[in-house]
Each structure stands twice: as structure tokens, then as C-alpha cells.
């Protein structure tokens, strides 16, 4: 009995510490700060809605939050359009190199995100690989500046950085579909397209939603890609929150911005979970 109790304490202590320090403490201090006010160097610990009024009346804040969500949506859709075919290809068209290709996709996550973002600078820059190639074959007369320090660059880098989080769950769902389902579909006279659209795609929907959700949440919270390749067009709310926590000492306004973003993302996650639940009846 004594052994059991020790067992229990050891088992429970790690998750409890984890949850209290990293989740409850962190989020509640964010919540509390967002309802306080700052004056020069002191945080005034009195309840106020000032920060939220400011966020919803200043285009700088609400505009950038909306823009950030827009970028997140674009990145998620792009990741789906580019990532789904890759997952499909690995699941159905590859046999011998299936594991190798999966490994390659997972391997990019082993490389620091910062290094990958820097690599894109070399590819997209004025003197970068793409510009040099286009100049060489004579398609353009002078380097394209749209490639780097633009929204285009930001969306591209975010999509490539997080696409693996979509490919992997979609691939897992595709793998789970028994061949008999496809056989049955063909036997009942459905063509390739109908089989995909009526059988395969709905069955992978939970994976698609899980993937899109991860990509969306990761890209909305990002500020590194924005700093490295986004240029003036690519400033995201993360960058603004970062600077509010700097010498401006606007921690309260920064916390409020963070909270609005978290709530917005939580709302979107809630919706996607609802959609996923609607299709969960189709689980195999």
C-alpha cells in the first residue's frame, strides 16, 4: 500500500508541476495583466478595459491582428493545396521509397526553423538563386524585388516551414483507409475522381482539419519569419507584441493583444473541432 502511494505521488507530480507552471500560471498572469494599465515605469494594478478599447479602436492593432489571421488562413489553404497531393502520392504511389520520403519530410523539422528561414533569404534575395537564374535565361532584365521582404516571401516561408504538420496527419488518415473501400467504390461504378471526392477525401477530413489547425495556429503566432523575410508588408501581431514588451514597457497592452489573438485562435479551433465532430461518424 505504501509503495502504491509513492507510485501515485511520483506519477502525479510531474504533470501537476507542468500544468501549474506552464499553463495555469502563465495564462492567468497574461489574463490579469491585460486588464491592468501602465504609466511610465509602473504597472497600475487596477481593473481597466483601456487596453481592449485601444486595440479595437486603433487600426494598428485590430488591423494587424486581422492581417495576421488572414496570413494564417492563406498559409493553411496553401499548405492544404500543396501538402495533400504530397501525402496522397506517398500513401498510394510509393512503395519502395515511402519511408525515405516520409523521413525527408520529417527531417526538415530537425533543422532549426531559423536556419531554414535564412536559407530562403539566399534563395529569394536580389542576388539570390532565383533572380540569378531568371536573369541568366533572360526572362527579366533586373532582379525582382517582390521575392524577398514581402508578404509573398512571408507566406512562402511560413507555408514551407509548417507544411509537414499537414502532410503527416493526412498521410496517417490515408494509410488507414482499407483497400476494400476503394475496390467497393470502383465495383459500384465510381470513377477515380468520384472515388476520391466521395470516399477518400471525407475519410481524411479529420486529418485535414488537424493539419490545417496546426499550420494555422503555428503561423498566426509566428514573428521570426516576419522579421527575417517579411519586410515592411509582412509585420505580424507577434512583432508588435514583442515590441510592446520592449523598452516601451507596455506590458499590459502587449498582454491584451496576446489575449485577443489567443481568443481568436481558440474560437477558430473550436469551430474546426465542431466540423471535425460532424464528420467523426465516418471514422473507420
Amino acid at each position: 500500500m505504501k509503495g502504491r502511494r509513492l507510485e501515485f505521488i511520483v506519477l502525479i507530480i510531474v504533470p501537476i508541476l507542468w500544468i501549474t507552471i506552464l499553463e495555469i500560471f502563465a495564462y492567468s498572469s497574461l489574463l490579469i495583466y491585460s486588464f491592468w494599465d501602465t504609466e511610465y515605469l509602473t504597472i497600475i494594478k487596477e481593473f481597466t478595459l483601456k487596453n481592449f478599447v485601444k486595440i479595437f479602436t486603433t487600426p494598428l492593432y485590430y488591423g494587424t491582428i486581422l492581417k495576421t489571421v488572414g496570413i494564417g488562413v492563406t498559409v493553411s489553404i496553401l499548405a492544404l493545396i500543396l501538402g495533400y497531393p504530397v501525402a496522397f502520392f506517398i500513401a498510394y504511389r510509393l512503395k519502395k521509397y515511402k519511408n525515405l520520403l516520409l523521413l525527408l519530410i520529417i527531417m526538415q523539422l530537425w533543422i532549426s526553423y531559423l536556419v531554414r528561414a535564412y536559407a530562403w533569404k539566399i534563395v529569394l534575395g536580389t542576388n539570390g538563386v532565383i533572380n540569378q537564374f531568371l536573369l541568366f535565361i533572360g526572362v527579366i532584365d533586373e532582379p525582382l524585388s517582390i521575392l524577398l521582404y514581402s508578404k509573398f516571401a512571408l507566406i512562402l516561408v511560413l507555408t514551407m516551414a509548417f507544411i509537414a504538420f499537414l502532410i503527416i496527419p493526412v498521410y496517417a488518415m490515408l494509410e488507414k483507409i482499407p483497400d476494400e473501400f476503394l475496390q467497393a467504390s470502383y465495383d459500384l461504378g465510381a470513377g477515380r475522381f468520384t472515388t476520391f471526392w466521395r470516399v477518400i477525401f471525407p475519410l481524411t477530413l479529420p486529418g485535414v482539419i488537424a493539419g490545417i489547425t496546426s499550420v494555422f495556429a503555428l503561423s498566426v503566432g509566428d514573428f521570426v519569419a516576419a522579421l527575417l523575410v517579411g519586410g515592411p508588408e509582412g509585420i505580424m501581431i507577434g512583432n508588435i507584441v514583442w515590441s510592446l514588451f520592449g523598452s516601451a514597457f507596455q506590458w499590459t497592452l502587449g498582454a491584451a493583444n496576446g489575449l485577443v489573438l489567443i481568443l481568436l485562435v481558440a474560437f477558430i479551433l473550436y469551430i474546426s473541432e465542431k466540423i471535425a465532430a460532424r464528420y467523426s461518424g465516418m471514422e473507420i
Partner: protein, 363 residues
């Protein structure tokens, strides 16, 4: 049933191992830090803890100086406020921050008995009052310089005027710092007002001017290394910069020069400060004394090309270096002060930041 018990045992063993490993790491970290010589941690601008001279200090005093370079002015206050003496013993920051550090009780007075070289620095700096409080010195000046314009000489034949920032001819070809308010200060200077005490109305004017600049901005830079790359790769042909950037580019053989277009620019006077609560105050003061010694001053000049504060470094310099730094002329800094508006603490920093962010995010 038996199987389940085994499984549970395995989890317990795993958890115990995990906690054990954590303890071990903890012991290891504290153990090694005790065993090592004194290590000073410093939060500094790029170049201020360059290996070329921290090595000399280590040989002389047996203390290692480990510097963290900031990416922008904003980081000093935030990082010291968050980490305090547990993270840093020393900071080297610019003239806008000492008052804020002192007011927030993040730094402590320096014992000048341990910094005898202080008496050698130009009187101009010893007379400054922004880094002192109640007659006590909190900041020892180290270097100074303007925020000049660095430009590619294959694009501009002479010093470009500030108007290039409004000129569509340079669309997507210029840059300014994005992580501090230098551009807002510059707008204030161009509007003919004191750039550090602008009120809401003046800031609104500054914002309007900056929004005219916006199409010309290719990227906002945050570290010296970043702007060096932008100019070297021809992404940018001119930018508000720092002398260290011009120097780095010249070392790489890139055709660049720097200047201060009329009517002037902002500038900074940097200083070392000791973080409150540090266990290594004596060693930190030794470091400061070393940093402003003729040797330490010449070494930081070689790395950054910034102007220095101790005229006794002159005998170490070549004639060209002496001419460049005006090290023999105590009046030069007084004259420079007429064209350079030194960074100062800002009361309404939040409003300044909003103008900067509006400028950055403008369409």
C-alpha cells in the same frame, strides 16, 4: 492484471528517471559554475565584448566576460527587468536608457575608487548628468557616435540628402532601423523640433512624414549584421546606420561611405552600468576600468569604429585614426553636439512606439 502492474512500474521508473535526470542537470550546472573562474555576463551592443579584448582581460584578471548582443534598444530594459542580476552583471547601453534603469532600480552606483581611469575621460562626459543620481555615478561613458547615413558609392557620388527617403526614384531601395525609434527621432529633427519631447500633435506630423518614406523602405533592419548584408547584397543602397556597419562593409570591399546629411541626425553616448544585486561587483568595476583604459578604448575603436572617450588612447593610434576620431581635440564632442541630437529618455515612449509601428505597418 500482472501485465498492467508491470506497465505502471515502467511509467513510475520513467518518471523517476526523468526527475533524477533533472536533478543531475541541476547539480551539474551549479557545480560547474562554482568550479569555474569568475564569469561576467554582459548585455551589450554588438562589438562591446569582442573576443579581441575580452581575451586580454581574461589574461590580466582571470575573469571571463560573456556578452549577449542585443538586437535593438528595446531589449535592454526588457531583459534586465525580466532577468536582473541572475542573468547579467553588466550592461552597456545608450544615453536614452540610464535614467530609466536608475528609476526602475535595476542598476547600482559605481565605486569610482575602483575605476581610476574615469578621471582620464573627456570632461564633457564626466559633466553629463543623465547617468548620475544624488551625486553618485551609475554609468561610465564608453563610446559615442552619430546615426549616420551609410550609402553605396556606386549609386551616390556624394552624401545623399534626407530627401532621398521621400523620393520615389529610390522606391524599395532604402532602409531604417525597425526595432528602435531612430526613424521617429529623425523625422522630429527634420521637422525642426526637439526629437525627444514631441507631443501627440508633433508625433502626428512625424508620422505623416514617415509614411511618405514608407514606399522607399525595402526592409527594416534590426542588427548591424543584417544591414551589412542588405547593403552588401544591394538589396538596399542607403540607410540610417551605425559606423560599425560602414566599417564592416569596407572590410568586405563593398563601395560605401557614410555622412551626416543636413540639418543633422540623432546620436548616442553609450555607457557601462552595473546591474543591481550582482555578486561580481568588484570584477564588474575592474572590467569597466579596463574598458575605458587607453588599451580597452583603442580595442573597441578597432572593432566598432565608434568615437571613444579617453584621450590617453591617442598614442596607440595611427595618424589617420587620430584624425578620424579627433581624439586630440576635447572640443570636438562639444562641436558635434551641435549637429547630433543625443538619444534621451522619452516620457511618452508608448506614443513614440505607436508612430514607429504605424510607419512600419503603413500601406
Amino acid at each position: 492484471m500482472k501485465k498492467k502492474g508491470n506497465f505502471r512500474k515502467q511509467i513510475v521508473a520513467g518518471a523517476a528517471l526523468f526527475i533524477g535526470a533533472l536533478l543531475l542537470v541541476g547539480l551539474f550546472v551549479t557545480g560547474t559554475s562554482k568550479a569555474a573562474k569568475v564569469t561576467l555576463s554582459a548585455l551589450v551592443w554588438e562589438g562591446y565584448t569582442d573576443e579581441s579584448f575580452t581575451k586580454v582581460f581574461l589574461e590580466k584578471y582571470g575573469a571571463e566576460v560573456k556578452g549577449t548582443y542585443v538586437g535593438g534598444m528595446d531589449e535592454f530594459f526588457a531583459k534586465v527587468k525580466a532577468g536582473g542580476a541572475a542573468s547579467y552583471d553588466l550592461v552597456a547601453l545608450s544615453s536614452n536608457l540610464p535614467k530609466r534603469m536608475i528609476d526602475s532600480d535595476l542598476v547600482q552606483p559605481i565605486d569610482l575608487k575602483n575605476v581610476p581611469n574615469y578621471n582620464d575621460i573627456f570632461e564633457f562626459f564626466r559633466k553629463l548628468d543623465y547617468n548620475k543620481k544624488d551625486g553618485q555615478v551609475y554609468g561610465v561613458n564608453y563610446t559615442w557616435g552619430p546615426d549616420p547615413v551609410t550609402y553605396r558609392t556606386d549609386v551616390f557620388t556624394s552624401c545623399p540628402p534626407w530627401d532621398i527617403f521621400k523620393d520615389p526614384k529610390y522606391k524599395g531601395k532604402l532602409s531604417v532601423p525597425g526595432e528602435d525609434n531612430t526613424a521617429v527621432f529623425q523625422a522630429g529633427i527634420l521637422l525642426g523640433t526637439d526629437p525627444y519631447t514631441m507631443d501627440k500633435a508633433k508625433l502626428e506630423e512625424a508620422k505623416k512624414l514617415l509614411i511618405q518614406w514608407r514606399p522607399q523602405i525595402r526592409a527594416f533592419w534590426s542588427t548591424a549584421g543584417e544591414l551589412t548584408n542588405l547593403i552588401a547584397n544591394k538589396e538596399v543602397v542607403a540607410s540610417i546606420s551605425w559606423p560599425i556597419i560602414t566599417l564592416d562593409l569596407k572590410k568586405q570591399g563593398i563601395p560605401v561611405a557614410e555622412c551626416i546629411p543636413d540639418p543633422g541626425t540623432s546620436g548616442w553616448i553609450d555607457q557601462w552600468m552595473v546591474v543591481k544585486g550582482t555578486k561580481n561587483k568588484d570584477m564588474a568595476e575592474k572590467w569597466i576600468n579596463f574598458a575605458i583604459s587607453p588599451e580597452g578604448q583603442y580595442a573597441v575603436f578597432k572593432v566598432t569604429n565608434y568615437f571613444i572617450v579617453n584621450p590617453k588612447a591617442a598614442p596607440l593610434m595611427t595618424p589617420d585614426e587620430k584624425a578620424f576620431t579627433h581624439i586630440d581635440d576635447p572640443n570636438y564632442i562639444v562641436e558635434a553636439s551641435k549637429k547630433i541630437k543625443w538619444w534621451q529618455p522619452i516620457q511618452n515612449e508608448g506614443e513614440y512606439n505607436e508612430v514607429r509601428q504605424a510607419f512600419k505597418t503603413a500601406k
